[in-house]
């Protein structure tokens, strides 16, 4: 097994083909995420962004290609072991356990290993990051507002003490002021040392905080570059920024 040295990327996706049944959705997809980077995946609806994240977290299996995380080939790792290895996925549409309390949702984010041992401590930290959740800790997660639910989803992910955190459209459906708050939180998470893979539709704000980004179209990487370069790219401007 390769050594987890700082030189190797945190995540290396290499030539994966992914299918739903007989329908191929990802085609020879490759990209990398370096340590402590924010890397963004952007692209139109149906481009395959969520499919990519689901494949990394083992809900789907690639038919070809390989994924290496922190020096480990993920094909050999059972999906439920990934959180323990620090690979955390905050899924599209939040996927909270709506009938359980906010606190129970958070606890489920820290079921194993180091995260389980430090659960109480981490809970205090996420409560100070999202004070609103402390007030609502006993409330059923499904009764929270959309913004609060997104905070729970992020907080639940943080409970796992992630090394790599993948967000699937965390700002979807939120009011502009909350969108900005979510982006600030993502940036802050990276600044505290966690690597971030961010899937987003708010392309302008995403490119503004991303170190690098990949543009996906119909299951392939069409373009890549630094956030700043892509913000200035005429094709990106026309297709994603409405300019």
């Amino acid at each position: 097994m390769a050594d987890a040295t700082p030189g190797t990327p945190m995540l290396d996706v290499s030539g994966i083909d992914v299918f739903y049944g007989d329908v191929q959705v990802l085609w020879d997809l490759s990209f990398t995420v370096g340590r402590a980077e924010i890397v963004a995946l952007i692209g139109a609806n149906g481009a395959g962004k969520s499919t990519t994240l689901k494949t990394i977290s083992g809900i789907l299996r690639p038919r070809r290609g390989r994924i290496t995380y922190d020096g480990r080939a993920l094909g050999d790792v059972e999906p439920h072991r990934l959180v323990e290895l620090g690979l955390v996925h905050v899924p599209e549409a939040r996927r909270l356990f709506v009938e359980m309390s906010v606190e129970e949702n958070l606890e489920l984010g820290a079921l194993r290993g180091e995260a389980r041992r430090r659960r109480a401590e981490t809970k205090e930290q996420v409560f100070s990051l999202f004070p609103r959740l402390r007030e609502r800790r006993r409330q059923a997660a499904g009764t929270l507002s959309g913004g609060e639910q997104q905070m729970v989803a992020i907080a639940r992910g943080l409970m796992g003490l992630p090394k790599l955190m993948m967000f699937d459209e965390p700002s979807l459906g939120l009011a502009p002021i909350l969108v900005q708050e979510i982006f600030n939180v993502v940036k802050r998470i990276r600044d505290e040392g966690t690597t971030v893979l961010l899937v987003e539709q708010n392309v302008r704000q995403t490119l503004a905080i991303a170190d690098r980004a990949y543009v996906m179209e119909t299951g392939r990487v069409e373009m890549q570059g630094s956030g700043r370069d892509l913000l200035g790219d005429p094709h990106v401007k026309a297709a994603y920024l409405g300019l």
Partner: protein, 309 residues
């Protein structure tokens, strides 16, 4: 109402609640399996029958009290349930071409095999465990000499009921306070999200099928002192569990407890005021009324209160 009528009504309600507590235990097992596996386990009553025969054999050979035999029957049924899940239900679950309906049919087949095995081993004879407290009871007049009405509380029914309450409370604690219990509830609500939390979903399914089977196996031990036993006794209890699971709201444990109590009381009322043989009809009346008027069961009523919809 004259005292005699009140006496009959109260006695009927008491019997109904005692029966309902035991029903709740049957329904709970089926409900947690439903919650996690998304299938109705139509072998549930037959698993209970297996629990009853285990308790019966232990009583006949070793004169072990049926209540003590829970300690043997529940672990054995846990194993049986886990094996059924892992080697029979799970492989079928993985084949996309097979509709969920067919997995349910598989459980019907498992139930038939269990009933037939019981017939081969024990013949179709009706059996009971003649425990020495079978007819023991407490009477209201013993504690209140001047009571205008007389009520009785059967000893084995009360003890069985208390065991059911204790087991239910234990299950409640397990599901609401332990990581494993929370993981089971999470798996029932959203199995992909549970997987993202690091829950071993496959293992939870096997465990839950085992746990549901252990619960109904324990219920079998509780029924032995108060009921008769024959190889096909399971069918009616499968039906009972099914009605309670629907009544409770397909996967809601609290709903299943309420559903069990409601069904027990309703059957008891039917038996008293319509006629002994009509209790199963009462069960179907409840079933149909619920499907028509509260299709989501008790759980949907609770949810409406909580989520305001």
């Amino acid at each position: 109402m004259n005292p005699a009528k009140i006496e009959v009504l109260l006695q009927t309600l008491i019997s109904g609640l005692l029966l309902g507590g035991l029903y709740a235990l049957i329904g709970l097992g089926m409900t947690i399996i439903m919650g996690v596996m998304k299938i109705i386990n139509l072998a549930h009553g037959e698993l209970m029958m297996v629990g009853m025969y285990i308790a019966y054999v232990l009583f006949a050979w070793l004169h072990l009290d049926p209540y003590l035999s829970i300690l043997v029957a529940a672990p054995l049924l846990f194993l049986l349930g886990a094996i059924i899940q892992k080697y029979l239900v799970n492989p079928v679950l993985k084949v996309d071409a097979i509709l969920p309906e067919n997995q349910v049919i598989l459980t019907v087949g498992i139930g038939m095999v269990l009933a037939n095995l019981a017939t081969m081993i024990f013949k179709s004879d009706y059996r009971t465990a003649p425990v020495d407290y079978a007819t023991k009871a407490w009477y209201l007049s013993d504690i209140w000499k001047g009571s205008p009405i007389e009520l009785s509380l059967s000893y084995p029914w009360s003890v069985s009921f208390l065991f059911a309450v204790v087991i239910t409370a234990g299950l409640w604690f397990f599901l609401s306070r332990t990581d494993m219990g929370k993981s089971i509830r999470a798996t029932a609500q959203d199995k992909d999200a549970a997987l993202l939390m690091g829950v071993n979903v496959e293992r939870m399914r096997m465990f839950t099928f085992g746990l549901g089977s252990a619960l109904v196996g324990a219920a079998g031990c509780l029924f032995l002192p108060i009921y008769y036993l024959y190889p096909d006794v399971g069918g009616q209890f499968t039906l009972t569990g099914f009605v309670i699971t629907i009544l409770g709201g397909l996967g809601s444990t609290f709903g299943a407890i309420i559903g069990g109590l409601v069904l027990g009381v309703f059957e008891s009322l039917t038996a008293t005021y319509v006629g002994m043989g009509w209790a199963p009809v009462g069960r179907f009346v409840v079933f149909v009324l619920v499907l028509v008027f509260v299709p989501g069961g008790v759980a949907s009523l609770l949810r409406r209160r909580r989520f305001g919809k």
